[in-house]
Subunit: 147 residues, 10 copies
C-alpha cells in the first residue's frame, strides 16, 4: 500500500468514527500539529504510534506499515494556495518574508531558521473583540558555514 492510499483510508476512518486529531495526538503522546501532519503524510510514525492509531481507527496492518514509510513531502500542496486559510499563510511569506529575513539577521547574524529541527504550535485565544489564532514557529538557528 502506498502512502497516499493509506492517508485517504485514515482520514475516512477518522471522519466515520468522529475522532479528533487531538484525541489521536493524546493517544500517542504527541502534539496535535505534528500528529495531524503525520496523518496527512508529511511526517513519519514509528511502529508503536502506527499500531495505536490503527487500533483506534480499526485499520489493518497494511495501513500500519504504510504509516511508517518516509513520505514524499509537499507533493499535493497547491502553490500559490487556492484555499483562503492556507493562502493567508502564503501571503505572510509574500508580504513579510523580507522583513523576517532582516529581523533574524539583526538578532542572530548570518543564518536561517531551520524547518527540519523545528516545532510548531497552534492555539486559539478567546478574545471579546473576536477570538485569535496564534501560530508559533520554533526552529533552530543554523549559521551559514564558511570553509
Amino acid at each position: 500500500m502506498n502512502r497516499e492510499v493509506c492517508t485517504a483510508m485514515v482520514i475516512e476512518a477518522k471522519q466515520e468514527k468522529q475522532i479528533t486529531y487531538q484525541y489521536i495526538a493524546q493517544a500517542i503522546n504527541r502534539n496535535i500539529v505534528w500528529t495531524t501532519s503525520a496523518i496527512l503524510g508529511q511526517n513519519t510514525f514509528d511502529a508503536t504510534e502506527a499500531k495505536i492509531i490503527c487500533e483506534i481507527l480499526n485499520l489493518d496492518t497494511d495501513v500500519e506499515k504504510a504509516l511508517q514509510i518516509f513520505p514524499e513531502k509537499g507533493v499535493n500542496a497547491v502553490m500559490p494556495p487556492t484555499d483562503p486559510l492556507i493562502y493567508r499563510l502564503y501571503e505572510i511569506v509574500l508580504v513579510y518574508g523580507e522583513t523576517i529575513k532582516e529581523v533574524i539577521h539583526e538578532k542572530a547574524g548570518d543564518g536561517i531558521m531551520s524547518a527540519i529541527d523545528f516545532t510548531m504550535d497552534i492555539e486559539k485565544e478567546e478574545n471579546p473583540k473576536g477570538d485569535r489564532i496564534k501560530i508559533i514557529l520554533d526552529g533552530k538557528f543554523l549559521a551559514y558555514k564558511k570553509w
Copy 2:
C-alpha cells in the same frame, strides 16, 4: 518620489549610519517587525512616525511624504523564494499548510486566521544545544459568513 526610491534611500541611510531596525522601532514606539516591514515598503507610517525616522536618518521631506503612501504590497517578493531563509518559511506553508488548516478548523470551526488584523513577533532564544528562532503569528479568527 515613489515608494521604491524612498525605500532604497532609507536603507542606504540606515546602513551608512549603522542604525538598527530595533533603534528605529523604539524611537517610534512600535514593534521591530512592524517597523522593519514598513521601512521595506509593506506597511505605512503616519506623519509623526515618518518625521521621526527622517530626523534619525537625516532625510528630507520628500522621503517623509513618500513613507506615508499606502504601498503596493509584495511586488518585489520572489516566489518561490530563492533565499534559503525565506524559502524555509515557504516550505513550512508547502509542507504544513494543510495541517494548519485542519488544526484551525478543529479548534475554531470554519474560518481563517486574518493576515490583516494580524501581528507578528520574532525572538531569538538562547539554547545550549543551539540558539532557536521563534516566530509568533497572531491573527484574528474570521468565520466564513453565510448569507
Copy 3:
C-alpha cells in the same frame, strides 16, 4: 465519501430532477449565490441544510455528511479562466484591480475589503437596450493593524 464525489452526485441529481439552485436556496432559506457556492463545494452546509437538500434530491446520508465537511476551496478553478464568462471577471481584476485599490484607499483609508466577512448578490436587470447583470460584492472593511 470525499467532497468532490459528493459535489458530482448532487449536481447529477439536480440535473436529473430539473431542480434549480433558486429552489434549493429557498428551501434552506439562503441566498442563491451562497447556496450555489456551497453545492459546488466552496462553502459548508450545516446539518439541517444538508438534510433538507438530500431530501429534495433523494440522496443518502453519506452525501448528507459530506456536505458538512469544511471544503478545500478553489482547487478546481482554472486560472486564468478559460470560460469566457469567468474570464470577464478575471479581466475586471486585471484591468480595474489597481483602480479599486486606489478608490477604496481614498474612501476608507489603509485596509482591504474582506472576502471572508463577505456576501455577494447577482441580479438580472431587464433593459430595452439589452438586459444587464448586476453583481454586488459586499465585504467588511478591514484596516491594516499596526503593532
Copy 4:
C-alpha cells in the same frame, strides 16, 4: 510622450497638489471609478476631459495629448496579485467564479456579462459592526450567438 510616462506624471502631480480622484471626477463630470481607471491608463479621456485635468494639475499639452491615446490595458497588473486588497478580488473569482457562472446561466441563459459595456461603482457603507465596502459590477448580458 508614451502613456506610462504620462500616468506617472499625473500621479506625481496629483500627490504633490493633494488632489483627490473624487475632485477630478467631479471636474470632468464622471464617476470616480472610471476617472481613476483612466488616470491609471486603463481608459481614455476625450480632449475636453484631458484639458480640464491638465489645468487642475498644471501639466502641459504633451500630457494632454497622451491622455487621449487608446491605452494597452492591464499590462502592469501582477497576476496572481501580491497586494492583499487586489488579491481578495482575485480570490473571489477563484472561489466564486464557477458559482457566478451557474447563477447567471440559471437567471439569464447561455451568455456572459460584458466587461466592455460595463460600469462599476464602489461605496463605503458605515456600519457599527465595522464599515463595509460595496462594489457593484454592472455589465450587459451578451448571449452566445449561434450561426
Copy 5:
C-alpha cells in the same frame, strides 16, 4: 452524464459511422463551424438539434440531454498549442495581435471585436499555386463604455 463523456461518445459514433461535420450541420441547419464547436463541447445545442444529432448517430437520451448543458469552455485547450495547425493561429495572435488592435482602433475607435456576438466561417479556396484556407472572423464592435 457530464459533457466530456458526452463529447467522447458523439465523436466515437461519428467516426464509426463515417459521418462528416458538414452532414450534421446541414441536418440541423447550422454552419459547419458552429456545429463542430458545439459537438466539441464549446457551444450548446437546443433540444431539437440535440434530438436530430442523436438520431443520426444512434445515441440515447442521456447524450441528448447532455448536449444541452451550458458547457465549461476552453478547459481542454493546450496553451500555447502544441499541434502545428492550432499553433499557427496562436502565432497570428502573437505576431499580429498588436497590429489588429491598432487597425481596429484606427477604423472604429476605442473598443473591441466581440467573441460572443461573433460568427466564424472557414473556406478552402482552390488555387493553382497551392490551395488556400480562408478563416473569416466576424464580431460585433463593442465600444468601451464611459460612466
Copy 6:
C-alpha cells in the same frame, strides 16, 4: 540603431504628425494590416518603402536602415494578452482552435494553414444593430509531407 528604438521613433513621429496607418499604407502601396505590422516591427520594409516612410515622417537615414532589419518577431507580445481587444483573439484560439483544426482537416485533409504564406484583411462593416469587425485570415494550405 536597433529595431525597437526605431519602432518607438516611428510611432512617436506618426502621433505627432497625426498621420494614419492607412495614409502610410497607401503611400507605399501596401495593405494597412501589413503596413501596420511592419511599423510595429513584425515585418520588414524594403529600401524604397523605408525611404518613403522616413520622408513622410521626417526621420533620418538611421531609421531608414533600421526599418530594413529582419526583425525578431513577437518578443513584446504579452501571452495570455491582458488587453481585452487582443485577449478576444486569444480566446477565439482557446475556444475554437480544436474546431478550426477539425474543419480544415475535413475540408482539406492532413495539413495546416500557413502563417507565413499568409495575408490578413480587417474591415469595419456598418450595421444598424451595431457595427461589426471582419478579420479575414488567408493562408496557403500546407500538407504534411511524408517521407
Copy 7:
C-alpha cells in the same frame, strides 16, 4: 478507439514481438524517422500502411482505423524536456536558435524553414574517437509574404 490507446497497443505489440522501427519502415516503404513518428501518433498512416502494420503486429481493424486519424500533435511532450536525450535537442534551440535565424536570413533572406514541408534523417556514423549521431533537418524555405 482513440489515438492514444492505439499508440499504446502498437508499442506494446512491437515490444512483445521484438520488431524494430526499421523493419516496419521497410515494410511500408517509408523512412524510419517518419514511420516512428507516425507510430508515436505524430503523423498519419494511410489505409495501406495501416493495414500492413496491423498484419505485422497482429492487431485488429480498430487499431487499423485509429492509425488513420489525423492526430493531435505534441500533446504528450514535456517542455522543457526532462529526458537528457531530448533535452539536448531543446538546448540546441536554446543556445543556437538565434544563430540559426541569422544564418538562414543571411543565406536565404526573410523567411523560415518549414516544419511541415519537411523531412528528417538520423544516422549513426562509426568513428574510432567515438561514434557520432547525425540528424539532418530538411525543410522548404518559405519567404514571408508581403501584401
Copy 8:
C-alpha cells in the same frame, strides 16, 4: 566590459560596415554557424580570432578581451520562441523529440547525442519547387555510464 555590451557593439559595427557572418568566418577560418554563435555570445573566441574580428570591425581592445570571456549561454533566448523561424525548430523538438529518442536508441543503444562535442552546418539548397534549408546536427554518441 561585460559580454552583452560587447555583443551589441560587434553587431552594430557589423551592420554599419555591411559585413557578413560568412566574411568574418572565413577571416578566422571557422564555419559560419560557429562564428555566428560566438558573435552572438554563445561560444568563445580565442585571442587570435578576437584580434582579427576587432581589426575587421575597427573595434578596440576592450571588445577584444570581452570576446574571450566564457559566456553565460542561452540567457536571452525566449522559450517557447516567439519568432516563427526559431519556433519551427522548437516545434520539431515538440513533435519529433520522442521519435528522435526512439530512433537513436534503436540505432545506437542507451545514450544521447552530445550538444557539447557537437557541430552544426546550415545549407541552402536551390530547388525548382522552392529552395530548401538543410540543418545538419552532428554530435558524439555518449553512452550512459553504469557504475
Copy 9:
C-alpha cells in the same frame, strides 16, 4: 508492461520483503546509487541484472523485460522539488550553480561536467558533532568543440 507499472511493482515487492537497495546492488555487483536509480526507472538493467532482481523479489518475466526498456528519464520529478531533502539539492544549484561554473572554467577551461559519462557516490560519515552526508559527483570534462 510499461516502465511505470514495473517500477511500482518492484518497489512494492521490495517493501514487502524488507530488502534494501544495498542488498540488491551487491547481488548485481553495482553501486547502490546506480542500482537505486535503475530501480526507480532512471537507468536500464541488462538481461542478467534484471533476472537476478526478479529472482530476489520473486517477480515474473514481464517485469524482467520491462526493467530492460530504455526509460523516459525525469518525467515524474517535481521541479522545484517540494520534498525538503530533494529541495536542498535544488537550492545548491540555485545558490552555487554560477560558482561551480566559474570554478570549473578556472580549473579546466571552456567546457562542462558530463551528466552522462558520470558516476555518483553517497556516503554517511559519522561525526560526534552530528553525522554528515557526502555526495560525490564525478563526470567527464567535455570541452566545447569549435568548428
Copy 10:
C-alpha cells in the same frame, strides 16, 4: 552601495587585473569554492576578508562595506538553467533526486542533508581517457524533529 553593484565591480577589477579566484582564496585563507560564491554575492565576507580583497583588487571602502552585507541569495539564478554547465547540475537533481532521497533514508534514516551547515569542493582529476570533474557535497545530516 548595494550588493549587486559591488559584485559587478569586483568581477570587473578581477578580470582587468587577471587575478584568479584561487589567488584570492589563498589570500584570505578560504576554499576557492566558498570564496567564489562570496564574490558572486552568495556568501558574506567578514571585515578582514573584505579588506584583503579590496587591497588586492584596488577597490575603495564602499566596496569593502558592501562585501559584508548579508546577501539576498539565488536571485539572479535562471531556473531551469540555460547554461549547459549549470543545466547538467539541474539535470542531476531532476534524474537522480529521488534516488538520492532513497539512499540517504536507507543509510541515515528520516532526515535531510543540510545546505547551510554545508561545504563543497571541486577538483579536476587528470585522466588519460579524458579529464574528470569531481564535486564533493558535504552537509550535516539533520533528522526531522518529532514533537
